[in-house]
Subunit: 446 residues, 2 copies
């Protein structure tokens, strides 16, 4: 097993700085580790037992090797702790803050050097660590009552910032997107985003990688890993610290220079790596990529029961350089024969407030070979829209085999209909424009 395998799938873990109460980070982490499938060794000289586990006064007391060490003690103690780990563990996560992010670069250099001497890879310092639902491993110092974790799924999240990581996790859960792994890598002193990309490129649980980046360190190494990863999986990056203010904020946050954003942006674009502008776009893209496979083409068909919502979607298509191309003449005639004369047989197709569920099926079946992707808008505040639409869409999605997204406005049945659609792996968005941006993510393979 490589060091990164051990980081994600240890069979045993030692927690240096374990505490008896959740009022301390070391207590929160220990409580979360109670769910872990492997063995846990809490270290704290003041206790013989912690949360039902035998506690160890020091590392020396633990006989035999342990896969992974978690360190949550004050920064000044970390060098000594790492020396004691020599020969005992294969990998370590240093969660403690108080290093380069507060100007303590020498202390950070010292622990980097110790890591090299004792031959282990280190994640952090100043980080949240690792969440791997498949191994029930969770090193985050955030209690479950405060941060519900997402369900198991195919999206890996990487974040330099623990705060953004926690926000990504809660929004993932709210948006019904499952996670394969999550890593808060903090100051990235040793294990950096490139190492994590290389690992995830071959992780069978992961189809999509969401990457929040403040700085990349070695730019060439980053680009090579990002290229390799995006050949295997869907990678979407959000670069923070874009302007001078943001860069300064990023520096004081993780002690690394953010670098010129323009260069980063140009390089990502050159290699066809997806980039989100902001947090919401990152999550909307992750949802689309988690549910469906990206494909080629720019021709989009919008089918709506609300004229204005269709116009807003068409406007966003224009901004996203998607073509809302006219319906072929023969299809116009065919749909014109099927539908009442007040339906709008154009693109967007306007099924009006007098729509019934089956009209969506008729439309999409008629047009499925004429477009590269479909946006379906159903405003379920009219009685013609029912939960049957979920089943109709599921069948259609299987026969259409093209990117296919949904916008539902909040209403009496929208929660149940959303659940049905998302079970059929059709992503549902809360506004027409966000739905278009989701669809664009699936159509950017040129």
């Amino acid at each position: 097993m490589s060091s990164l395998d051990i980081l994600f799938n240890p069979t045993s873990v030692v927690l240096v700085g374990a505490a008896h109460t959740e009022m301390k980070f070391g207590g929160v982490i220990l409580k979360n580790l109670l769910r872990f499938r492997g063995k846990v060794f809490p270290v704290n000289p003041k206790y013989r037992e912690l949360m039902g586990l035998p506690a160890y006064a020091s590392l020396k007391e633990i006989s035999g090797p342990v896969d992974l060490a978690l360190v949550i003690r004050p920064a000044s103690e970390v060098p000594e702790i790492l020396r004691e780990l020599n020969g005992k563990v294969k990998c370590a996560i240093v969660m403690s803050s108080g290093f380069a992010e507060v100007g303590q670069n020498k202390l950070q250099d010292e622990i980097k050097e110790i890591g090299r001497e004792i031959g282990i890879r280190i994640l952090g310092p100043n980080c949240m660590g690792v969440f791997n639902p498949h191994a029930r491993l969770d090193t985050f110092f955030l209690p479950y009552e405060r941060l519900k974790r997402p369900r198991k799924g195919n999206v890996a999240i990487l974040s330099q910032s623990g705060a953004v990581l926690s926000c990504l996790m809660s929004v993932l859960r709210e948006a019904n997107i499952g996670a394969s792994k999550a890593v808060g890598y903090g100051n990235a002193m040793d294990i950096d985003v490139s190492d994590l990309y290389d690992y995830l490129a071959h992780d069978t649980y992961t189809d999509v990688v969401v990457s929040y980046i403040e700085s990349v360190g070695d730019g060439r190494k980053f680009i090579e890993s990002a290229k390799r990863l995006s050949e295997q999986k869907s990678l979407i990056a959000l670069k923070a610290g874009k302007g001078e203010t943001g860069q300064a904020a990023a520096y004081s946050h993780t002690g690394r220079l953010a670098g010129r954003y323009e260069v980063f942006h140009a390089v990502l674009k050159q290699f066809g790596i997806r980039e989100a502008t902001d947090f919401d776009e990152l999550m909307d893209a992750a949802k689309a990529l988690s549910y469906q496979r990206p494909s080629k083409g720019r021709r989009v068909c919008i089918i709506t029961n609300g004229g204005g919502s269709g116009v807003l979607a068409a406007d966003e298509c224009m901004r996203q350089e998607l073509a809302v191309a006219d319906l072929p003449e023969d299809k116009k005639e065919r749909l014109g024969r099927e539908f009442p004369n007040f339906f709008g047989i154009n693109n967007p197709v306007d099924l009006t407030a007098q729509v019934t569920d089956k009209d969506y099926g008729i439309t999409i079946n008629a047009l499925k070979d004429d477009y590269d992707g479909f946006l379906v808008i159903a405003l379920p505040n009219v009685l013609g829209i029912t939960e049957r639409l979920g089943g109709i869409m599921k069948d259609l999605k299987e026969s259409v085999k093209k990117p296919f997204v949904f916008h539902l406005a909040p209403s009496g049945i929208s929660a149940r209909l959303t659940a049905l659609l998302e079970k059929a792996r059709i992503p549902v968005y809360p506004s027409p424009e966000r739905a278009v941006r989701g669809l664009r993510t699936l159509l950017d393979q040129q």
Copy 2:
């Protein structure tokens, strides 16, 4: 009373096309009218009683005048119905579709002419009509089970599109924003957006006007009304039909040409009228303006307990041309003495995961005279953040007297904390960037 007063505050209403079942629009409207405080006359020749009200076979059977007529019969019958209304009503809403939006321009011209002849103002055709919670008037053909209405409040919504109107209403409700009025004015054959602006400029219930526009008809009249309105209230417009595709879609939707967007945009900008880019931005701006008064200045202070979230906010400030200006030196020293050395005493102020509620109070009190607006980010997944923060913020907001917005990530206590903050009229947003855009709306009076 003017015709528009009668539109919003009739004492009696006749519904031509009332139905016995909610499976018909005329039945949904009648059911919603049961809540109305005034008198309701349902007209339908087939029934003697409808939903517990005496029904009338024709308009002739109703003795004496009625304030407002609602018409929901097929388009071809509308001219005759209007003629029968002669001398009987002061104002009418024609909800029926089948006019200019489907190429029946002659029919629309005919009913326009009849309205002029019989001396009444007409809203519509092809429209949703009026919602006025203060009069318990609701002419929308959407059942309550399908579209929950927003609570009473200070935001008026105007929309050409019934679909967008219904989406705005449900999002208003979800975002805890109250409505003063809502109007779906459809084809705007007679009463148009300018008339509605003129009315709302003097409506005491309304502080904010949210205006979804596909076309404006008489451009000069529109601009003059918009200018007058925005001198009295906060006006925010979303123009749909921006590109060629969107314009074509808008035309087939309401039968009016959308006009060149560039001209519209330039004129709005010239007169300092706020414009939203998309649906979400419109709602985020409405929330900010509904809760707080706009003011001058561009200097923003960001206070966060999550470094990365602060960086994302700083990036968005740059895009929105807000200045994340450095802390004054004396304040840096003062806060440096109060706080532990690992807190980031810059802008953004980073209170880290080790924050407690009171640290926000200390920070804002120290800096309240140094900035034009404040963005507070509290990621409530750490135990130091409790519901007490709601009370602290309420007191601070009163003493700061400047634009003041919040970003909370979803977590165990975020729903309760959001309720407390919004009761104190501090708008809460689900991402750092959306919070910045909300704050920008409050700081664009230059």
